[in-house]
Symmetry: C3
Subunit: 152 residues, 3 copies
């Protein structure tokens, strides 16, 4: 993890940095609102997501969308809201124009009439790419801090 602006002028990095922060804000608000297909559309067509709980990565928008729908149905049944909060978003521009981004993720669940709970502390490592002027997730790996495999 060396200075990430090394391969870009500072002013260009600032533009990318704002774009990435905005991307995650919208991306996670879509997820938490249950907008499954809109969320899936923020991955590339062949985008992959390796969550900590699945044995194999989830690949492609259809599968990603189905995953969100299943998770949302479970939350609705329990009457819970969920929020994914990214922080400490470290952006590393790669020579090919893609971005490697490593972030912390707090997952907060709140039952109706109950207290919010920090359910999971995770680390998310993404490869983001531009397609038609928009950022998309090409690859995502998430590790949980409570698991031995945790990505320190």
């Amino acid at each position: 993890m060396t200075a990430s602006t090394d391969i870009l002028p500072a002013a260009e990095f600032a533009v990318i940095h704002a774009e990435v922060q905005q991307f995650y804000a919208e991306h996670m608000q879509l997820l938490d609102s249950g907008a499954a297909s809109e969320w899936a559309a923020t991955f590339t067509e062949d985008g992959s997501f390796a969550p900590p709980s699945a044995p194999e990565p989830i690949v492609g928008r259809k599968a990603l969308e189905a995953g969100v729908r299943a998770a949302r149905a479970e939350l609705d049944e329990r009457g819970e809201a969920v929020r994914h909060l990214f922080s400490m978003i470290a952006v590393r521009p790669l020579p090919d124009g893609a971005l490697k981004v490593r972030s912390y993720v707090q997952v907060v669940n709140t039952p109706r009439d109950g207290e919010p709970k920090l359910s999971l502390m995770c680390v998310c490592t993404d490869v983001l790419v531009h397609e038609r002027g928009t950022l998309l997730v090409k690859e995502r790996q998430v590790t949980r801090d409570d698991r031995p495999s945790a990505n320190r």
Copy 2:
């Protein structure tokens, strides 16, 4: 929630994005330090705040300031510190130059000699406007994740 930079060049969006992040940082640090009148001055003269617990919005700086003083007195009596942590700040520039901003808010309370507690998980939707070169809150709506009316 489409790409928010659509109506602005990316470089201009980056400037606004930084300004908004800085605005919330200062705005919330004022609130949490009990600087009631300084905090109220970060709303427009007729600024309104619809908190989840009040039946009617609080309107105008005098009323906003009084609200902070009352909340602060209660916290002081209990010997508690409070922090409002905004995250996933999604900025949408509107055609008239105002900004619609939707964010997540963690409210953390810490009693003296006690443990910090995530008391509330909220969603804040603001309309921010520029006046004399400074951002101000014109309208604020906050929902709590534990309430049926929660703004997903």
Copy 3:
């Protein structure tokens, strides 16, 4: 806490703001991954850190590095991951080019196979300076919200 962009044009502030956000992301990821010497190198040679628990500030990279190693050994013994999450990062450029930055810090600990816990809520006040194009911490003061000396 007045508008922090006062002494800089907004576009320049945006560049600095992105740089600061990126700095903290990398800085804290180094700390939490136990990269003690790399982390210490993000302070100036004579950098000082006044943590809430120490009677005297820790001064200089060697001492800072030793502090991280000791903390990491303790965490490893307990089998815990730790994350330091900065938020509400308020950046104030000083006339001499240094930056005064006041931020909130959540410290989250997660035991192996256990639940994440918000252990501490702190406020961090830094003086950051540029050396050879890179930001470094020159002075750091941290207060804990559970202590009477809490920096509101």
